[in-house]
Amino acid sequence: MTSATAGDAAQVSPAAQTRKSVTGTRKRMAVAFLLPALVLLGALVVYPIGYSLYRSFFDKSGDFTGFGNYVELFTDDTILTAIRNNAIWLVLAPTISTALGLIFAVLTERIRWGTAFKLLVFMPMAISMLAAGIIFRLVYEQDPDRGALNAVWVGVHDTFAESSAFPKAHPGQESPLKPGGKGSFVTRTTVEAGVPVALPLLGVPKEQMPQEAAPAKAAAAVPGKVTGTAWQDFTLGKGVGERNAPDTSESGYPGITVEAVKGGKVVESTRAAANGTFTLSGKADGAQLRFPASNFREPYNGVDWLGSEQAVPFLGVNFVTLSVILSYVWMWAGFAMVLIAAGLAAVPRELLEAARVDGANEWQVFRRVTVPLLAPVLAVVLVTLMINVLKIFDLVFIIAPGDVRDDANVLALQLYNSFVDRDSGVASAIAVLLFLLVIPVMAVNVRRLRKEVRR
């Protein structure tokens, strides 16, 4: 069906040259064989092209409007978004799918379980876009506790950026701590070496307390050093116990950062142990102790993958479009891979080996020999995917949540919406536009085949 494969499949055998009827067919017989197909094709495929063209010159209520509907295509904001998104789709989806397909096809060639790998990557082609859409709705869920992608994303983020373990912690009544600006808390007075400090906080729910938290312990006095305890001065069901003093039923704040501040500068910083105790050197003597705001930041909640925010600045690619494109790549990279692998199998090994013997490294062989030899196959894959992408509907319809569907809009979806809204004029104009865009491919298909057929 595709342009170049159309030509390849029509391998002309010697028999084709003499493909005259062996029976001396009566025309009536030919008509009988062809009629069902031609009637269906005529009524359901050819006639609609003409009708759409005709209908596109009339408005919603059926009055002649000339090119009015076409003007609307390029002036209406929602439709313009669809056109822009379709352009983004046409650029990104086929190229990413083909690039991945090429990489996979080349890399799996020499792997024993390459076939299993290919089968796995190819598998999504067998399922419906609806099922794929539901699969990716789950993947892209915003809540990092439920959406797999954000779970990974937040995990990676928290590995590199410090995560805060105590987002809701704050000082209680009569606390030795006071707000220190920008979300930090600082001791009201300066601390002295050799005198243990108590730094009580409240407000971390039990289930959010880090697992390693141990019962809080009053720090021992160490001469020449500043010691202290940072803990949750409250136990569910037991209240605060002795206020501003650690009880064993209360929990330490493991890993909370404590800074010693003198004259606005941090002179030392440390982290509390599991039982909340911490030790600072003599440098902290006479300083105020501070819990920096990083201890209390709201947890990072990941990316809104299905949101309308810009994913790539300046290009107008929003997250929801990008996410749907990636789900498309998941489905179709296997298609590219299989076609390219078949092309690769036909590449003469001698050429690759000759290049290697001449001293080319693997990358050079790939870049200078493999890719040029595969160029025709790559072109077929790209064109096929572009035609496919032009009509993309199901994935956007399923994955994009209702409130951002206009931001994820594409032509086929807009056509459907116009159809449902009974705006036949605009729907027809979009249909004509889609049809015009596939005409070049149609022409190439027919041309290629004409040579074969008429031989």
């Binding site: 094709l41 299989v338 889609l434």
Partner: protein, 306 residues
């Protein structure tokens, strides 16, 4: 199809030749080869896992009860395997909308597949072996239709179907799928039939076979591989379709894709319906895919412009 056979043969032959050259490579090259080979395997393994994870996520989600689904991610079952339950499935299979929609999908898919094979074979045979004026031009016309987007037909055909009274009926969906499956069917089968050796047809002719007999007894059996490819391709295409069904199917008796699509609008609290539903809808296509990979691949190779 025959082209595939040829290329894979060629691949086999040349890789033997490659083996000979490889054996002469230096030890150093072999060591770097082994290291990069190891990295390659790790890379592919990671990609493979990455490709599988979304589907596993769906499968495991479908096996957890609604409360668990809303509380945590599907990976929780690795630490709490006791969460796994078949309850969603038993609920779903008792739900008549779902079972009916599965039946409806089958009612659409099976006739749409058979009809495309039959009508496409007749036309393919006519284009390959019958003589009539403008034969090749007509065929080229059909080839041109390969890339016509279904979207072009939605509005006109819905009007047409309205006029003849099959809009929003199962019959309408079937007819639509047959029409849009035909260009590929005719293209594929005509090219395959055209390669049947003339001698075979002549021999049958000498035995006194008429046109119809020739078609049924010689061409159709020989066309088996192409017909299988076409059938599988069309089957999956129709089974998986949502757009055509959304517009043309009987809204009281929709196929599974449309039934599930109605649930997606309320995505969030109904994952316990959507996940197993999607999985059930995937079972048959996946079974067909794994059972007939070869035919499916050759169908896809012959073209997927649809």
């Amino acid at each position: 199809m025959s082209a595939d056979g040829r290329t894979s043969e060629a691949g086999g032959r040349t890789s033997e030749a490659g083996g000979v050259v490889k054996a002469k490579r230096s030890i150093a090259a072999r060591i770097t080869g082994a290291v990069s080979g190891g990295l390659l395997r790790v890379f592919l393994l990671v990609v493979g896992v990455l490709w599988l994870v979304p589907t596993i996520g769906l499968a495991l989600s479908s096996l957890r009860d609604p409360a668990d689904i809303s509380a945590s991610g599907w990976w929780k079952v690795f630490t709490v395997p006791s969460q796994l339950t078949l309850e969603n499935y038993s609920h779903l299979l008792q739900d008549e909308t779902i079972t009916n929609s599965l039946l409806s999908t089958a009612t659409i898919t099976i006739p749409a597949t058979l009809l495309v094979v039959v009508i496409g074979s007749l036309a393919g045979y006519a284009f390959a072996w019958m003589e009539f004026p403008g034969r090749d031009w007509w065929f080229l016309g059909v080839v041109g239709l390969l890339v016509v987007p279904v979207q072009v037909a939605l509005l006109p055909v819905s009007k047409l179907f309205g006029t003849i009274g099959i809009f929003e009926t199962t019959l309408g969906v079937i007819v639509f799928h047959v029409a849009f499956g035909l260009p590929f069917a005719i293209f594929l089968l005509r090219n395959f039939f055209a390669e049947i050796p003339r001698e075979l047809l002549e021999a049958a002719r000498l035995d006194g076979a008429g046109e119809l007999r020739l078609f049924l007894r010689v061409v159709m059996p020989l066309g088996g591989p192409a017909i299988a490819s076409l059938g599988i391709f069309q089957f999956l295409w129709v089974w998986n379709d949502m757009l055509v069904a959304l517009i043309f199917a009987d809204s009281k008796n929709p196929p599974i894709t449309v039934a599930l699509q109605q649930q997606v609008r309320h995505f969030g609290d109904n994952v316990s319906i959507l996940a197993p539903g999607a999985f059930i809808s995937m079972v048959i296509p996946l079974a067909v895919f794994f059972a007939f990979q070869r035919q499916f691949v050759s169908g896809v190779m012959a073209g997927a412009v649809k």
